[in-house]
C-alpha cells in the first residue's frame, strides 16, 4: 500500500510540474511549486516506510515542511510588493 501511495504522489508531482511549466501567470507557477513542495514532504515520509527506515526520513520531511513554507512566503512577498523589504527609491510599480 505504501508503494501505491508513492506512485500516486509521483504522478501528482508530474501533474504539478506540467502546470508549473505551462502556467500562464506567475501565480500558477507559485501554486505548482507549493504543491510540489507538499508532495515532496509526503513522498519522503512514504519513502521512509517503503525503504524501512522511517525514523531517519521523517526528520528530513519535517525540515522540508518548515523550509518550504519560508520559500513560499518569500516568493509571495516579492510577487505582491516587488521586493523583500529593501529601502529603495520609489519604484515604478512593476506588476506582472
Amino acid at each position: 500500500m505504501f508503494t501505491l501511495t508513492g506512485i500516486a504522489l509521483l504522478v501528482t508531482m508530474v501533474l504539478a510540474l506540467i502546470r508549473a511549466i505551462k502556467g500562464p501567470t506567475v501565480y500558477d507557477r507559485i501554486l505548482a511549486s507549493n504543491a510540489v513542495g507538499t508532495k515532496t514532504v509526503l513522498m519522503i515520509a512514504v519513502l521512509g516506510f517503503i525503504v524501512g527506515e522511517p525514523d531517519l526520513y521523517i526528520d528530513i520531511a519535517l525540515m522540508y515542511a518548515l523550509i518550504g513554507f519560508i520559500g513560499t512566503v518569500a516568493v509571495l512577498k516579492v510577487s505582491e510588493f516587488g521586493d523583500l523589504g529593501q529601502a529603495q527609491s520609489p519604484r515604478d510599480g512593476d506588476k506582472s
Partner: protein, 185 residues
Amino acid sequence: MLIETINIVLLGMLALTALAAVRLHDLFAVTIMFGIYSLLAAVVFVVLDAVDVAFTEAAVGVGISTVLMLATIGLVGRHEQRPVHRPLLPLLVVAVTGAALVYGTLDMPFFADPAAPVHQHVVPYYLGKSPEQTGIPNVVTSILASYRGYDTLGELAVIFTAGVGVLALLGLRRRKRPSKEHPTP
C-alpha cells in the same frame, strides 16, 4: 525495481524543469522553477540514501538561495536582457569541454566497484574504526565532523563570510513606509 522507476521518473522531471528554466525569460518564474528543481533534487538524494546531502539541499537550495535570488530580483528587476553576443561560440566551447569530460569518465572504475583504488586506501580504516573511535553511527557524519573537523570548520568560516558579504551587498533593511498603491487591509 520500484526505486529505479522512481529514480528515472525523478531524473526526467529534473531535466524538464531545467529546460523550462532555461527557456523562460521572466527571472521571477525562473527562481520558482529553481525552487521546484531543488525540491526534486532533494527527493533524488533521499532515494539515493544520501540523507546528509538532502539536509543541505533543503537548507541551501530551498531556503537560502531562493531568498537570495528573490532579494536580487528586488534590486535588479525581473526581466531578462537580450543577449548582445551570439551564443554559438560559448555553446561550442561548452560542448567540447563536456565531451572531453565524458570521455574522461570512460577510464573511471565501475560505479561502486569494491576493488576500485578509492575504496582500498583509507576507506576500510574509517569503516572499521569509526564506531569505536568517534561513537557516531553514521560514517559520513563521523568523517565530516570528527576526522576532518578542522576542514569543516574552515568551510563553515568561508561560507559564513560569503553570506555576510552577500547580505551587505543586498542591503536588506526594514521597509521605510508601506507602499501607497497596496494598502494592507
